[in-house]
Symmetry: C2
Subunit: 233 residues, 2 copies
């Protein structure tokens, strides 16, 4: 029994080593540019098929890295949402979108790779859908979205969808840019993660509250298409 | 002479074919994941060193793709800036940041690759600096930045830098996401490039105009760092 417990611990350690190597390599070079074999090697595995054995496909490996961090962010976000429930201020709900991620990044031992990893993973066509699906499954994110919809009742659905995407891009790419600058000794606009979070909350709140210019319907005015949501063409 | 003119025309055509293949492959797979050899093959070049012969390094190839489009965008932006000079409205100057790129994308024969190419190139650490340097060299972008600085005199430099970065991320990544959805038949929040541009102008104007929450100085309050611009650490 002791032998099997220790084997299972070793398996857990190998998994952790592979997750850490994958996060770093994908963050530095992009997901498509790194093979499972390179991840296995960087994780110190003599067996080049260690990734396949422990995770199956590369997509599964990427999602396992996402999940590893998501649990901690989700816990922080649950606390923020609990403290915000009942608030009618858009800014309070945007706080719930931004602070849990920022505080988690600030609490990790530097150098962190998570923000660059997420930016790379979201730029990879085959990974966007599963990562966004994982987001859709988050009960706290669903509560934030419902609150924003309730607080902005006049906003057309297409504008709300667009602004949710904008909030996501700002959070992911501003954090990735800051993380890279921290790692490479470059300049960052803000001195701290804390101040970076404040800047993001200011900006994303303004995006959600911005008046939406009506777009003229197709054939009337300068627009070149229908104002209704539709399949892209 | 006729022979040498025709050889130079052929050289020009080869260059164009390589640029088009590079833009598409980098857009689809990321810059790091594609070799010069793969670009040469996709461009129909029997000689695997065609990229090296015509462009030198991969960085030079990426910058050549950027320059190929930049000239047209720069012309459109020069017109927009000329029509905006004298305006005291932040929104008019944000229009000059957004519309030239959007109108250029809308005018290209679909499927376009440019927006995804730029999103990939900006995520590649070794390419960000040269691409941003090319931006810094644009006289029209410099005029827009100067106008925004003049119209927002109370804004701390760190906040202005941060918001310029946010405007860039929103433009690049919202266009890349839309371009990908158009290509793959996915859903887009907006029906047209025209409406996408309007949404971006609404949002980026709000970001520049948003009140900036003061960040408390280091050691006083919840901030964990100095409020002054500094080298990242």
């Amino acid at each position: 029994m002791a032998g099997s417990a220790s084997a299972s611990t070793r398996g857990g350690e190998t998994r952790e080593q592979i997750l850490a190597a994958a996060e770093r390599l994908f963050a530095e070079r992009g997901v498509a540019a790194v093979s499972n074999r390179q991840v296995s090697e960087a994780a110190g595995q003599a067996n080049n098929y260690a990734v396949g054995y422990h995770f199956g496909s590369k997509t599964e490996l990427v999602l396992a890295v996402v999940r590893k961090h998501d649990q901690s962010v989700e816990l922080r976000r649950a606390e923020a949402v609990a403290a915000t429930r009942g608030s009618e201020r858009v800014r309070d709900w945007v706080h719930c979108l931004v602070r849990p991620t920022i505080d988690y990044l600030a609490a990790l031992e530097p150098p962190t790779w998570l923000a660059r990893f997420l930016a790379q993973a979201m730029t990879e066509p085959s990974l966007r859908a599963p990562i966004l699906a994982a987001n859709d499954g988050s009960p706290t994110l669903r509560e934030v979205r419902a609150a924003l919809t309730r607080l902005l009742p006049m906003q057309p659905e297409e504008v709300r969808d667009e602004r949710s995407a904008m909030a996501r891009h700002l959070l992911v790419h501003m954090c990735a840019e800051r993380e890279r600058a921290l790692h490479e000794g470059g300049e960052t606009p803000r001195a701290t993660w804390e101040a970076t979070g404040t800047g993001l909350i200011d900006a994303i709140t303004a995006v959600f509250l911005a008046p939406a210019t009506p777009v003229p319907p197709r054939g009337r005015g300068p627009s070149d298409g229908s104002p209704r949501r539709r399949r892209a063409r």
